[in-house]
């Protein structure tokens, strides 16, 4: 199966009106995936696309309902950033990094089933930051490019967990981040 055929099939699975589990998040993410594809898959390899898009429906279905609204807003915000140009903050910040925005959209899709409310922002370098708010703390995932991210995650009552230059694997949330979020989930439970 060609990349295009496989990709279109994956998106269709998510966006299909016959998908009974479809919800607002599903639709928003499906629209985003279509938009990225239409833009020529900037910043991500076809392998990454295949890996990422073969499972978005399952990801979205698994998203904890309480956090769907925040996820939708964050995704919409990432989308808004795509149109921003140099000096978007009126203080000289460079235009947002399109490849990093693509990767952030995918990372956002994987932040499922965690007790967090993600918010999307930009840092002064135009790199997307996913702010994860939870009782007793606020974590940051800074998506530096289409291939790497940093994170800082204060765990309530414990040390802050952090890591730089984490490789983004579009097939899943980076293992280090999964481990941290699971520890966070255990503390918050």
């Amino acid at each position: 199966m060609s990349f295009t055929t496989s990709f279109n099939s994956s998106v269709a699975t998510v966006a299909s009106p016959t998908d009974k589990s479809g919800n607002e998040v599903a639709k928003a993410i499906a629209r985003e995936l279509c938009r990225i594809a239409a833009a020529g898959a900037q910043g991500l390899s076809s392998t990454h696309f295949l890996q990422a898009y073969q499972q978005p429906a399952a990801i979205i279905r698994a998203m904890a309902p309480a956090h769907r609204s925040a996820a939708v807003q964050a995704l919409q915000r990432l989308r808004t950033f795509r149109d921003w140009r140099d000096n978007w903050d009126a203080e000289g910040a460079p235009a947002p990094d399109q490849g990093a925005l693509n990767a952030a959209s995918i990372i956002l899709g994987y932040l499922r089933n965690y007790p967090i409310d993600p918010t999307a922002m930009l840092d002064a370098d135009g790199k997307p930051m996913l702010i994860l708010r939870y009782p007793g703390g606020e974590g940051e995932i800074n998506v530096l490019s289409d291939a790497t991210l940093d994170y800082v995650m204060p765990i309530p009552g414990r040390d802050t967990e952090y890591e730089a230059d984490v490789h983004i694997d579009a097939a899943a949330l980076p293992q280090q981040l999964q481990d941290v979020l699971q520890r966070l989930q255990a503390v918050l439970a």
């Binding site: 808004t80 978007w88 000289g92 460079p94 840092d123 800074n142 940093d150 800082v152 802050t160 952090y162």
Partner: protein, 193 residues
């Protein structure tokens, strides 16, 4: 001459590399001793009053300073107004921040503080410096710049985040909430700006 060297580094560094470039050439906030505009201006003294104009939601949202906005300290600097700025300089800054950002902003107010409040963060180490800097034709412009942390990439990442939190904690109590530009100007004057 160090003043000339500092000014040269500042003018040669790209916008988002000011913090790194200045620290690489003159570590430990050495260039605070001079104006980076010209010898005709004084440097920022420890007791100097400074104001950071704040807009919402870009700089302040949900009852808190937006810490991501503070990442500018690690790049091109957080723009400040120093005391003595003209009405036009202050009102012009407000107009730009409210009307020229990519998404609509409203005036929230300003953080008003002494330079030493920020310079004291992390003592005896230096985590932030404040410099008199050029910004187009503004004569009373300053920049708050972070001192780049050292260590592994992960340690640097954590240090930047921790220091931003410290900066936020220091600035939050200094915020004056005033959404009317003329009224804010009066308030800034009464605070010594």
């Amino acid at each position: 001459m160090s003043a000339a060297g500092c000014r040269q580094v500042w003018s040669n560094a790209s916008h988002n590399q000011k913090s790194e470039a200045l620290d690489a050439a003159y570590p430990n906030c050495f260039c605070e001793e001079w104006s980076l505009v010209s010898d005709a201006h004084s440097p920022i003294e420890p007791a100097a009053k400074l104001a950071r104009i704040l807009t919402t939601p870009g700089m302040y949202d949900a009852g808190d300073l937006v810490s991501q906005k503070l990442t500018s300290a690690n790049a091109g600097g957080l723009s400040l107004i120093r005391s003595g700025a003209s009405d036009d300089e202050i009102l012009g800054t407000i107009t730009i921040l409210v009307h020229e950002a990519a998404e609509p902003q409203s005036l929230l107010g300003a953080a008003v503080f002494d330079a030493d409040l920020v310079r004291a963060i992390g003592r005896p180490d230096r985590h932030f410096g404040i410099y008199h800097t050029p910004d187009h034709d503004k004569q009373h412009h300053a920049d708050l710049l972070a001192v780049p942390p050292t260590g592994t990439n992960s340690a640097i990442r954590k240090a930047k985040s921790d220091r931003r939190s410290d900066l936020k904690a220091a600035l939050m109590p200094t915020i004056i909430f005033e959404s009317d530009a003329a009224a804010l100007l009066n308030e800034l004057r009464s605070q010594g700006i």
